[in-house]
């Protein structure tokens, strides 16, 4: 076998591995669209309503786990199981924070959003996807900056971030289906 032929075969192997590393992308895109919608609606329309937020979060988690269950019909991996555990732990933390009482408030929102960022960063580590890890880190940084520099605009900016996540999730999902 020639060196050139071996190179082409290695390229084929890398291409196969790259396709596998993107196997969960359609699911992640849907997840991003769901949570982008939760953020856009929650922070855009009901920033101070604990009841509306509780409903949105419960709906968001129910939909996320339904989508996860649908995905598991096509693909089961160790990384997928770790992802389910990680997001379940995040969900429990979130509910604990919400059950602690009081309004959502920007301080509690910051704590929740830093947990969200941590969950996305953890997902990036589990899936070995630097882009997702970076997105989680940028989300944490943007939250801290919004909170510190524009406290009055914190909720509208988060609603905007939700719309951005929704748009990106839809774009990512549609592109991934091609």
């Amino acid at each position: 076998m020639s060196r050139e032929e071996a190179k082409n075969l290695l390229y084929a192997a890398r291409e196969g591995a790259a396709l596998a590393s993107r196997a969960l992308d359609p699911f992640l895109a849907r997840l991003l669209a769901v949570w982008g919608t939760v953020y856009a609606l929650g922070y855009g329309l009901f920033p101070d309503s604990g009841g509306a937020w509780a409903l949105l979060v419960v709906a968001g988690f129910a939909l996320s786990f339904y989508l996860g269950g649908q995905e598991a019909r096509h693909l089961r991996t160790g990384a997928g199981r770790k992802l389910a555990l990680l997001w379940s732990a995040f969900g429990l933390d979130l509910f604990a924070l919400m059950l602690a009482g009081g309004g959502l408030g920007s301080g509690r929102s910051l704590a929740i959003n830093l947990l969200v960022a941590l969950a996305w960063m953890g997902s990036g580590v589990v899936l070995e996807r630097g882009g997702i890890l970076l997105a989680g880190a940028l989300f944490a940084l943007a939250n801290a900056l919004f909170f510190a520099l524009f406290p009055a605009l914190y909720f509208p900016l988060l609603a905007g971030a939700g719309l951005l996540a929704l748009s990106f999730g839809l774009f990512w999902g549609i592109r991934g289906l091609r």
Binding site: M1, R3, A6, K7, N8, L9, L10, A12, A13, R14, E15, G16, A17, L19, A20, S21, A23, R73, H74, L75, R76, T77, G78, A79
Partner: protein, 98 residues
């Protein structure tokens, strides 16, 4: 020398690389595999049969609801053969082989 004639074929190499990247206990449904790898049903079936006969893959048939499904996963033997084959290709590219 660990060239594996079965894995050597580019489509099978891509298929085995895909399964190896998903991890040791992963399994993929036939239709997803077909879609992700951009193969036709017949083409994918032929490659799966050859790899299964060699003991490189396990193919399980079952039902989700009332719909029949076929699941595919890489065996330990398949993973070892793939890793050895890739190592050999890398050695050749580095100019250590002929």
């Amino acid at each position: 020398m660990a060239f594996d004639e079965l894995i050597h074929q580019p489509t099978r190499l891509r298929l085995v690389a895909y399964l190896a990247r998903l991890g040791p206990d992963a399994r993929v449904e036939f239709k997803k595999l077909k879609r992700d790898l951009g193969l036709t049903e017949g083409n994918l079936s032929r490659h799966l049969t050859k790899l299964e006969e060699a003991g490189y893959l396990r193919v399980e048939k079952g039902f989700v609801g009332r719909r029949p499904r076929t699941w595919v996963g890489l065996t330990g033997k398949g993973r070892d053969a793939f890793l050895a084959h890739v190592k050999e290709l890398e050695r050749l590219v580095k100019g250590e082989g002929t």
